[in-house]
């Protein structure tokens, strides 16, 4: 019972800490999906800084922003937007693509 009480207390502490502000305002960047293409398809972001990427899907169908290199995948419903937090990234290039239209929806993030 003591173990249970201890576990429960820790869980409550965890949940309360989730609400803490975890980072200062992050630099924001925007990408649009239009006709199954990313615009811009090349985005330069600061290295070693966490960024907030807002993806606007201007198409009527869903698309999935995906990148193994960035360790991110996020479905963006048609005519909606999605927020993706990325990084901090080491200097370099990080490709991404649209899972539902991989032949056309391709892009790259450059951290420098």
């Amino acid at each position: 019972m003591a173990a249970l009480y201890r576990s429960g207390s820790l869980l409550l502490l965890v949940l309360s800490l989730t609400a803490l502000p975890a980072a200062a305002a992050k630099p924001e960047f925007k990408i649009e999906i239009r006709n199954h293409l990313f615009e811009p398809s090349e985005l330069v972001v600061p290295a070693n800084t966490k960024i907030k990427l807002i993806v606007y899907n201007r198409d009527s169908t869903a698309e999935e922003f995906e990148s193994y290199e960035l360790n991110r995948e996020k479905v963006v419903m048609g005519n909606r937007k999605a927020v993706i937090f990325i990084g901090p990234l080491k200097p370099g290039t990080y490709p991404f693509f649209g899972e539902f239209h991989p032949n056309t929806a391709q892009g790259i993030i450059i951290a420098e």
Binding site: M1, L4, R6, G8, L10, T18, A23, Y68
Partner: protein
């Protein structure tokens, strides 16, 4: 203030892994998959997972447990899955043992905070005896460059006419290296009553077509004390579409 908050969360993550791990003791099969907290809209899945337990103690030897699940997301926050659970002991026949319903809630956006958080709720009903089990697991993921640490901290309650009411706790931790999409090596730790084990696991993903994914996991968990099964082999295959 920001750094202090991040430090608090960092310390708490370590406390969860070390503190609860030292007290968690639950009965029943402990080795399972380690859940991440992420949910994608429009996702559907068929899943088969199983464990095969071997031990020098005959009462814990040659136990096989399989779960067939069908799941779908309802938004970018909620996921549900239903499972059929079957069991075979030794040369005895395979039998459908239980049903389970599962709901996952993604609480934070990936990468927004120091770690990513979610909750998993499970309700299991035994088929031939009057036993229910309700579980809640806290799901935590922290990225360390190409390393990803995932922790599941569970609190369970069992009740029914055929069981003594009981609270249980459990802990599962996975450290995974993101080597490539096709294959990622990992180390997993499980702690519960009558089971404390650690072992290597391989995971990976294939793309059979646009919008489709095949995820697999395979590994063996080695018991670290006399109360734990010598080996628990575990495997999983998920088809997302």
């Amino acid at each position: 203030m920001v750094r202090r908050a991040a430090g608090l969360q960092s310390g708490l993550f370590c406390l969860l892994v070390m503190g609860i791990g030292s007290v968690a003791r639950a009965d029943g099969p402990v080795v399972d998959k380690v859940y991440d907290p992420y949910v994608q809209p429009l996702e559907r899945e068929i899943e088969l997972r199983g464990i095969v337990q071997n031990d020098s103690n005959a009462t814990r030897d040659e136990i096989q447990l399989y779960q067939l699940g069908v799941g779908r997301s309802w938004s970018d926050k909620w996921w549900t899955e239903a499972y059929f659970i079957g069991k075979q002991v030794g040369d005895g026949g395979f039998a459908l043992q239980a049903f389970e319903l599962e709901a996952k809630w993604q609480m934070t956006e990936q990468g927004e905070y120091w770690a990513d958080w979610g909750l998993l709720f499970e309700l299991e009903r035994e088929r031939q005896v009057d036993i229910f089990e309700l579980s809640t697991r806290l799901l935590v993921v922290k990225e360390w460059g190409r390393w990803v640490t995932t922790a599941n901290v569970g609190v369970n309650y069992e009740w029914g006419d055929d069981i003594v009411k009981e609270w249980k706790t459990s802990l599962a931790v996975q450290g995974r290296y993101r080597l490539s999409r096709a294959i990622e090596p990992a180390l997993e730790l499980y702690v519960g009553q009558n089971h404390a084990g650690i072992g290597p696991v391989l995971t990976g993903e294939f793309r059979p077509g646009i919008g489709k994914k095949l995820n697999w996991e395979f590994g063996v968990i080695i018991g670290v004390d006399g109360n734990s099964p010598d080996q628990t082999w575990r495997g999983l295959i998920e088809y997302e579409f």
